[in-house]
Amino acid sequence: MLSHIALLPVLLPLIGAPACAILRRPVFAWGFASSVAALAFLSAAILLKLTFEHGVIHYSLGGWAAPWGIEYRVDLLNALVLLLVSGIATTVLVASRTSVWHDIAENRRGLFYVACLLCLAGMLGIAATGDAFNLFVFLEISSLSTYALVACGRDRRALLAAFNYLVMGTIGATFILIGIGFVYMLTGTLNMTDLAQRLPGLGESRTVFAAYAFIVVGVCLKLALFPLHLWLPGAYTHAPAIVTAFLAATSTKVALYVLIRFSFSVFHLESSRLALSLEAVFITLGIVAVFAGSLVAIFADNLKRGLAWSSIAQVGYMTIGIGIGTAAGLQASLIHLFNHALMKGTLFLALAAIAIQVGGNEFSKLRGIGRRMPWSCAAFTVAGISLIGIPGTAGFVSKWYLVTAALAGEQWFLVLLIVAGSLLTAVYIWRFVEIAWLDSAPEKATGGDGEAPSVLLAATLMLALANIYFGFDTRLQVSASGGAAAALLGEAAQ
């Protein structure tokens, strides 16, 4: 089975989803989906180990050699994203039971898990494939299931949020399709490696420029990079708590992976004449995203909405890393991709636990919640500290590498702005800390009290601990992202 390891993380949820649809009882669906995700995680871990040892792993689907058939081409970057997505999915799905039973009507729970598995299969498929069109197909699998998952929210506003997401997501996907069509017309191939070899031969073609522009705009819609972020706050706020935890930790990360893959592996961003202006665009939009996102997050009266805007800000940090344009910048971006998934996973899982107990995430309902749910709130606080970037947490590692990369690129103002952004983060995290821990609880406690259900709590605490662990032991994300960044820029330099 080891020869199929490159395919297994995708194949398991892909076959698992229809199999899950046949199971009739929701509890079985939950158990089945969790175990499928866990197996995918396991195979992704083995895959990462193998890519560390042997470098790139190729897998020709259907036995047809690329570029005629579809090829999976897994290097460190793919393996890291696969590991991250499947790991978060496993944690969230295992933890999901109480929250899903709380949020979703009984007759929908089984289908809910089928949709989760489909979404997972889609995202893993995007992260593993080496074929541009195959990427589009799996993008649509993950998007369609995401729309349905978002629409499952209890509030009717979830429906409109899902619809807006559907419209913008489809425009984004169609833009990507246009871009792929343009490069196909110019090169005759869809295989990414083959494209990378044939595109430089075309010189300064205006069609290549347009193709790249369409793909970047399309991916940035999915990534929710600043002016294209409009779908995100609504979707994250009104989706069921578990769905938000899952999406916030994975979907933007996969979109960022696609952006990096197309920019550096396919289009050779840094060796082209456009590089300078595009890098400026990424940095500018990143900075605007950081400040706009953080400021809105500070004034939000719903904590979940605040964190959604915070996600927009954090995406800004990642694009700044890309914009710096050096291997160090790219590495910082990838490290933040990894760490941010841990932070937002923890934060939104903690919110899911709180939502079960008090029935919402408005600040007005959270007064004194720290006394009633000490462990969940502690996990939230730890992840919040990590989000700010205080030493001893994973977030510090991200910020450290980002600042170092900015310094190495002699972009002093960036350092200043990154630190200022962290201060803004501190403000909205402090708002929670103040209300949750320092305010006294209201006289009449709303909803039930006591701690979150044990499985959910355990998963949240585990992710919170991961935030601390990866703040000290940085080997995994640093070596994988370092290798990936070097490979990305090395490929382009050839």
Partner: protein, 117 residues
């Protein structure tokens, strides 16, 4: 002849923009989906035009044909059409639920209702 050789592509651009305009400018959610449909279909036309070889025939092997059009874009667009109908059906399902929840399918009305509460 030069204009003719780009006629298809420019027709695609016009179609795409009409679809895009409907998506952005119309407040009715069903209209938005129809616009999205045109927008996607125009991309299909782009791909299929790119696959045409003048003088070629349909890519079904036969002894008395020597020149075929390119089958690869056809395969890709078959998949893309399925994606399009899948998106439309999910979107329409959402519209029905939105209508049940708000009593309207006009974006402006719905936003107004949300602000009130």
């Amino acid at each position: 002849m030069d204009v003719l050789s780009y006629f298809n592509y420019w027709a695609v651009v016009v179609l795409m923009m009409l679809g895009f305009f409907i998506v952005i400018a119309r407040a009715n959610l069903v209209k938005k989906l129809i616009g999205l449909n045109i927008f996607q279909t125009s991309v299909f036309i782009l791909y299929i035009s790119a696959g045409k070889v003048i003088g070629g025939s349909a890519p079904i092997l036969s002894d008395d044909v020597t020149l075929y059009s390119n089958p690869l874009p056809h395969v890709l667009i078959l998949t893309a059409i399925v994606v399009g109908i899948a998106t439309t059906s999910v979107g329409l399902a959402l519209v029905i639920r939105i209508h049940a929840a708000y009593g309207s399918v006009n974006q402006n009305d719905i936003l107004k209702q949300d602000q009130q509460c």
